[in-house]
Amino acid sequence: MNWLRAISIAALVLLLIPIVVLLYYGLGPFRNPAGYSVAVFRSIELSLFSSAVAVAVDILLFTPLAYYLARGKDRLAESLVDIPISVPHPIIGVALLILDSPITPSGKFLLGLHINFYNTILGLVTALVIMSAPIYVKAMQPYFESKDAAAEDYAMGLGAGRLRTLYSVVLPDSFDGLTSASLISMSRALSEFGSISIIAFYVLQYPFYGVSSASVTIFELYNGAMAGGLYAAVTASAAMILVALPIALAGHFVRRRGRRT
């Protein structure tokens, strides 16, 4: 009897029970049309769109940081990266609210530049970036660390600076690491709730006029602020799981392929 395997599978099953229950009830006994209404699908669209944009920003802005942490020995920076995800998520929403508020100097400055976070796609994506970037860095850093530094040392010997080395030597060879990290951080962004329920409860920009993110919509269905009640919330949750699953599984396939080569 392989005890390790048995215990591991049991732990995994425990983890997945709520998901399975939700899928069963949402697609079966509790299925309610309000749970797959146009409003719910628009929310899922908004979540997918904003999460994808957030991940693109993560890749552009935070890949250098992940590389820096991998090759440098900056323990302080490493710990600082974890801060946004170590605090209750509504705090980040409140922080963005204050940052962009007309009574603070930073807010006056930002609003003067027409940068408005409150109930906008910009605010939504900003919150998602803050909440998914640490996960992205945490995924890319070990990937970079596991890469053989020989090519990088050689390139630097030839005269390439660290940043140049990152873009010309490391990244062209990091497709599977990038994909895997992107998918993990996208899953993180899709599941975000606390910060966006404050800074971007709904957005008012075309083409998402009056649409909330999926997590907010499901919460609204649950707490009766949106017509539908418990059953609609369960159905919408099941719909959201069906959307999130392929993304989680895609990450798995990329990692498998990476390990095989």
Partner: protein
């Protein structure tokens, strides 16, 4: 080792990333265009550090951060037809979010004026948010006091129109019927309703509050529905337990049978899933959520305008002050901080005109509608409202 097909995958990934970056830039550019034509929605909200007025989950009102108001005097939205209008913002009592949404949708369709989705929460919590500076044009409240300076502070415009009456009921779900203690109580209530005998009602209320079932009563501080739940129990105690207002409320509190949340609507889901057996909520909300409900005597359920004096002998005191019982009237007002004021008044007129359609939600529509008015010079009642009063569509119903 990257194989040939993965090379093209890389270029695909790069291409997708480029497209996404392009989308971000387009959205940001659009953002700049829309924000610059409606700067006011950004400038009114101004948070500070005192957070404590909202209880419960964050999303029942958006503004958990409260602070002083810096009311914007920007003139962008004054009726220039060539500029894109900023949407009309609304707060609504959560139990009436559906009705408010329907009214807004009808209004938007009829006039072409854009409306933002309703932000809903307990009426008192909504008022706190508005007072703290959350942008708002329309406030539909389940209680008159939430529209008054008592809750809206200096942003109260001192007038409100009562356009629908409702009553408190005890809602229950299919899950409740499966609970034997609860289903017994339902039978007792139905008996009492038929006989209207004091002893029958006493039997019902005594078992209800004994602690053998869980009763949802939302937070009185945030939600008038919760406050009214306690008033119902006080009135029942007075009527059926020999004048003792605390006869049922006390045992309920002691036994821990009451379950609370930030709003009554938030308790609908636990009611449906069986975590609680009864819920104090408005009849219209129970109908809207397809819940069963127990009807109570009109002396107890805060439904009847002519019993206003009777209701006023019951009160509930908490951190927000003392609130006395009054008939339940759904009110609409336009706070002084509104930005799209002209459009907001137009919406009020629309509601007045179409109030009768709300009876389909189980609401009782008074005719004429009620104007609560404490407007004192130098403020004036908006001309459109004054006109409705003069025409007789509204009748003066006392101070706010």
């Amino acid at each position: 080792m990257i194989l040939r097909h993965q090379r093209s995958a890389i270029s695909t990934a790069v291409g997708i990333a480029a497209v996404v970056v392009a989308i971000v830039l387009i959205v940001a550019a659009y953002e700049v265009i829309t924000v610059s034509s409606s700067t006011t929605t950004a400038t009114v909200f101004s948070p500070t550090t005192s957070v404590s007025t909202v209880t419960g989950p964050v999303t029942t009102t958006t503004a958990t951060v409260t602070g002083p108001t810096s009311v914007s005097t920007s003139t962008v939205t004054t009726t220039s037809t060539s500029v894109a209008l900023s949407p009309v913002l609304s707060y609504s009592a959560d139990a009436y979010a559906t009705e408010t949404t329907a009214l807004l949708a009808g209004f938007s369709k009829a006039t072409g004026i854009p409306v933002a989705p309703v932000i809903s929460g307990g009426s008192n919590a909504d008022a706190s948010a508005i007072e703290a500076g959350a942008p708002d044009d329309i406030f539909i409240s389940a209680s008159l006091s939430a529209t008054a300076p008592a809750h809206l502070g200096s942003l109260s415009s001192n007038w409100a129109i009562g356009f629908a009456a409702d009553q408190m009921v005890l809602a229950y779900s299919n899950a409740t019927l499966a609970n034997s203690a609860a289903s017994t109580m339902i039978t007792q209530a139905q008996t009492a309703l038929k006989s209207n005998a004091t002893s029958d009602w006493n039997t019902f209320f005594t078992s209800l509050t004994s602690g053998s079932v869980k009763i949802g009563i939302s937070s009185p501080v945030a939600d008038p529905a919760g406050l009214r739940g306690w008033l119902v129990l006080e009135a029942a105690g007075y009527l059926y337990a020999g004048g003792n207002q605390q006869a049922y409320a006390s045992p309920l509190l002691k036994s821990g049978g009451n379950v609370t949340a930030a709003s009554a609507a938030a308790l609908e889901a636990p009611l449906q899933s069986g975590q609680i057996q009864f819920l104090f909520i408005y009849r219209s909300a129970a109908i809207g959520a397809s819940l069963g409900y127990l009807t109570l005597n009109s002396h107890v359920n805060l439904s009847t305008a002519s019993l206003a004096t009777f209701y006023s002998q019951f009160s509930y005191t908490d951190s927000a002050g003392k609130t006395t019982g009054a008939p339940i009237v759904l009110c609409i007002t336009v706070p002084l901080s509104s930005v799209n004021t002209a459009e907001a008044i137009q919406f009020v007129q629309y509601v007045v005109k179409n109030a009768a359609t709300l009876s389909s939600y189980g609401l009782v529509i008074p005719t004429p509608l009620l104007l609560y008015n404490s407007v004192a010079t130098p403020q004036t009642l908006p001309p459109a409202i004054q006109a409705l009063l003069t025409q007789g569509t509204l009748v003066a119903a006392g101070p706010i």
